[in-house]
Subunit: 222 residues, 2 copies
């Protein structure tokens, strides 16, 4: 398959594919001659993954390169490959991670620390992108007057555990470590919109249930 076909099958313009090749997001095709290269199904797949990371995950190109490097790094054992990839994934809400150090931030940090201790979570501690962004989000909520105390955080954490089990179940069905690492990245990113969209739909339902529409006044004069 040459670039034109890769472009046609993926729906990505050739100019963009060239750009990804240049940026190292896509491995070069097999060189057939000085000006020809052949791409395989693995390029098509990688291209889909790149698009998912960048367009769905809103990941900067440089970050996507790091994540993919971890996915491809055969020298690491499975545990670390999964870990490096997960660590490199950008936080869901940049701009929260480096929040100010006010009262709200300190309270939030304490609350998150307590939660982690209670749950016994210690893989990703303070300093990890996810942890710091979580602190920032809880602080932002506090500043607007919406408390996110231990009880509420715990409720969210239980839900998160359920989601994590769902993803890991799917991961375990795969055979090779390479497949699992790629799946880990893809599912982390692509399940996010699934979850968030369903949450919004569920909110609309629950909202309509609790705050029903008033009886319709058809064609009323205002």
């Amino acid at each position: 398959m040459r670039m034109a076909e890769l472009s046609a099958r993926s729906g990505v313009p050739t100019a963009t594919i060239k750009f990804y090749l240049r940026e190292g997001l896509l491995p070069p095709g097999e060189r057939l001659s000085a000006t020809q290269a052949a791409y395989g199904e693995e390029h098509l797949r990688r291209l889909s993954l790149v698009r998912a990371l960048i367009q769905v995950g809103r990941m900067p190109v440089a970050t996507a390169r790091e994540v993919l490097a971890a996915v491809d790094d055969e020298t690491l054992d499975q545990h670390n490959r999964l870990g490096v990839a997960a660590w490199a994934l950008p936080s869901p809400a940049p701009g929260l991670a480096a929040g100010e150090d006010d009262e709200a931030a300190r309270t939030a940090r304490r609350a998150v620390g307590t939660l982690m201790a209670e749950l016994g979570w210690e893989e990703f501690g303070p300093g990890s992108p996810a942890y710091e962004t979580l602190v920032g989000a809880v602080a932002a909520l506090a500043r607007l007057g919406y408390p996110c105390d231990a009880a509420r955080l715990t409720r969210f954490a239980r839900v998160a555990e359920e989601l994590a089990r769902t993803d890991l179940d799917l991961l375990e069905e795969l055979e090779s470590t390479a497949e699992q690492v790629e799946a880990s990245v893809a599912l982390t990113v692509l399940h996010e919109p699934v979850l968030l969209c369903l949450r919004r739909l569920a909110q609309a339902e629950e909202s309509a249930r609790r705050f029903p529409a008033p009886p319709e006044r058809r064609a009323g004069p205002g």
Copy 2:
């Protein structure tokens, strides 16, 4: 409070506040003279909300203006104010909403339709941002070979319901409709990073549990 103080207390540069005023994201302050205006606590609060929508929710300025217009629209009843605000919120993953119409997309649309029917969800049907983005996300998963079938979607949907109940419980504690609409928007946006970060932390834990690190070989020669 004048602009300098508003800036100091919010941490937002005055140039940016001026920009928000110009764009209609922030109502003008009370005019004291031709060149002076006073801002109140409500401006500080609105400014925090604007920052949350734009920086945390990654919402375009124009969209934030629409959402805030719905929040402020006193002419609508509560049901519709909540609905308009929710509809205007941008989808969590733009670029998925307008996916191609291939086999994966059709299958995804069918799966989502079935799910909605089974759950009896009908507030936001096809055409709504959340619904269309969900279809796009399921299709993207299918193209990468990760099925998101009815069973898995249902599992996610149950989780989403739980989350929605959590948010609505908090909403019902508020007194005025105005507060509730604002809270609805703020919680929809700000709980997203909380949930997503906790999910990533949970994934790391679960992953470490299922794929433990191999016994450390300290200072090994490679």
